[in-house]
Symmetry: none
Subunit: 350 residues, 2 copies
DNA sequence: ACGAACACGTGTATGC
DNA sequence: GCATACACGTGTTCGT
């Protein structure tokens, strides 16, 4: 039923996750052991099976506890009586339950424990004072019980998802990073792994740059929260002076000045017929598409392009080749052209 | 003190991990030995004060804790002593707690709720017999209470550690990977990030290699039929697919026969709503432009894009986000769409 | 009100 | 035993 169906749309890691299966296998064992207690558990298990492993493959899943919990619970639904009132008490209604125990010695059990899960339901729960609630709670009772179940299910899914992600990320790194299978260590290992990867990346880039003599555009997004701080050295256009553009969310900037307004942080460097462009602008609708098209119109062929999105800002760093028919010859001309292009994009995006 | 110190030995991120050292100085000081020595829980309570504030430095916060925190929440205060007896009930000794509650009206609160799921056993509740256990339990009671507290503390530390790791790994990636602060999404984002980093690494290495071998480009990368031979692992589409379908063990390539002609080497991987595309095709007129446009039409937003040109081949490696209206949901569907898109581009380029 | 996400204390399995 | 780690159901809190 709807309750247990999984909410998370995405999951789906398909391929990986094999190690996770191991875990489940274990639980399977547990499940089997406990079986004998429940003659009919199998159907319950099968029923729940679909919803719990939403993501496909896995099959067995979950431990026995949950299985029979559910079963019990569902079984009990038929007779919802009052017991829930006492047991579910949980949140705001905690008081009620307390009182109940005070007065009625036999109502005791609930407490117990367990109320927990579904069992509490069957425990009788005393009658006492709460009758006035009766009227209202009578309807709410199962209502409430229902939403408790959804709560449980949701929570269960959350955990499951978590584990799947962990399994995935674990499968992505070399096992040396995970020594203990512990889930904290997994993400601890992931931390190391990421750091290692970034370091390697940096190394390679430096090598390449050294090799190439000329600074290149391909640097990945860097870890610092504001990666773009040192990214520009001498931009032809800078937002610093013209903050209002981004500030007010872009009014009519069109052709206000004879001196064109900076649409973005733009820096162009050139060597022979190759140019490097760095453009930091805010996200605009279809901007990338239009930039690519616009550059092509300017007889600039894109050799290398890197797009990095951070929040509402996008950093395009690209290296282009000035084709034979290109009218532009200096960095300033190119910067002007790009700024103008961005201006048109802004206009059209309004 | 020992109780709260963090137990996890592994953390230690070696070289990089300097930041963690800050958090709890994991005193190796014999945690085990000392803890059970506690005569009574009050010390324990004081102890807990420090460890509970998980968020770094800070100190005090949550003082009310101790075992009676529950009480505080619910406002149902009562003399703490007896309630502990009841509350601890937990594990095997669940019975005790039951009895205690029966007798002492004011100790009420704890009860409930949690006791956890499994204890079905006690539900029975009958009152009678449990008191004589006293003699034995009398000693064990606080003993047991004590170790319950350590359990709680340990568990609390576990969670805390988890969160710290999550915070760390989150701080390592660009915020675009974490849209929701949700802890599942964090590690989901980490998955994407790791994949992206690896991809970039591969790209750079390939570039470097190509750069090195520039002179003899003809047979330079000829050993593999395709220049970026090792770049793809399980491509949905492959240029050599005609004969080699079986070659790449591919569960995913299964339906290769009735599948449209491969326009390029295409590999799609997916996590949540993020997909990584690798496309290796020959250069075609305006191809990049059309790819960008085409993806936008498919409700795929380009988050990261990397273009590498080698000779007459181009490698696009991009990470895209599936927007809400996107019809595509599986890697195969995306691969199909991309292949189809390339087909149209090829047509138009003729 | 309602849902989504967490923190909590507990039960329980696994390893020494 | 006892330490560790996970799953569970629940309470609570925070956006909407």
């Amino acid at each position: 039923m709807a309750l247990d169906t999984v909410i998370y749309p995405q999951d789906q890691f398909g391929v990986w996750g094999y190690d996770y299966l191991i875990q489940e296998e274990k639980s399977l064992c547990g499940f089997l052991e406990s079986n004998n207690l429940f003659p009919n558990h199998e159907q319950a298990a099968s029923v729940h099976a679909n919803n719990w492993d939403y993501c496909s493959s896995s099959s067995v899943m979950q431990n026995h506890n949950s299985c029979y919990d559910m079963k019990d619970h569902w079984g009990t639904i038929s007779s919802p009586d009052d017991c829930t009132g006492g047991g579910s008490g949980g949140g705001g209604g905690g008081d009620q339950m307390i009182s109940s125990e005070l007065e009625s010695p036999h109502c005791n059990m609930m407490m117990e424990s367990h109320v927990g899960a579904a069992l509490t339901t069957n425990t009788v729960a005393s009658a006492g004072r709460r009758k006035r609630r009766r009227t209202k709670s009578g309807k709410n009772k199962e209502e409430l019980e229902n939403q408790r179940m959804t709560h449980i299910t949701v929570e269960r899914n959350r955990r499951k998802q978590m584990n799947e992600y962990l399994a995935v990320i674990r499968s992505l790194m070399p096992p040396s990073y995970v020594q203990r299978g512990d889930q904290a260590s997994i993400i601890g290992g992931a931390i190391n792994f990421v750091k290692e990867l970034e370091q390697q990346l940096q190394t390679l880039e430096v090598q390449k740059r050294a090799m190439h003599q000329q600074p290149n555009s391909v640097n990945g997004y860097s870890p610092p929260p504001l990666p773009f701080g040192e990214f520009f050295t001498f931009p032809q256009y800078s937002m610093k002076s013209a903050n209002e553009v981004s500030g007010n969310g872009g009014g009519s900037v069109a052709v206000a000045d004879n001196r064109p307004l900076a649409m973005a942080e733009i820096e162009v460097t050139m060597v022979e017929s190759h140019a490097n462009l760095k453009i930091l602008s805010k996200k605009r609708y279809r901007q990338l598409l239009k930039i690519v098209a616009g550059l092509q119109c300017l007889w600039l062929t894109i050799l290398h392009l890197n797009v990095t999105t951070v929040d509402q800002m996008v950093l395009y760093s690209l290296s282009v080749k000035l084709e034979d028919g290109c009218q532009l010859s200096t960095v300033d001309e190119i910067a002007d052209a790009v700024n103008c292009l961005l201006g048109r994009i802004e206009e059209e995006a309004l």
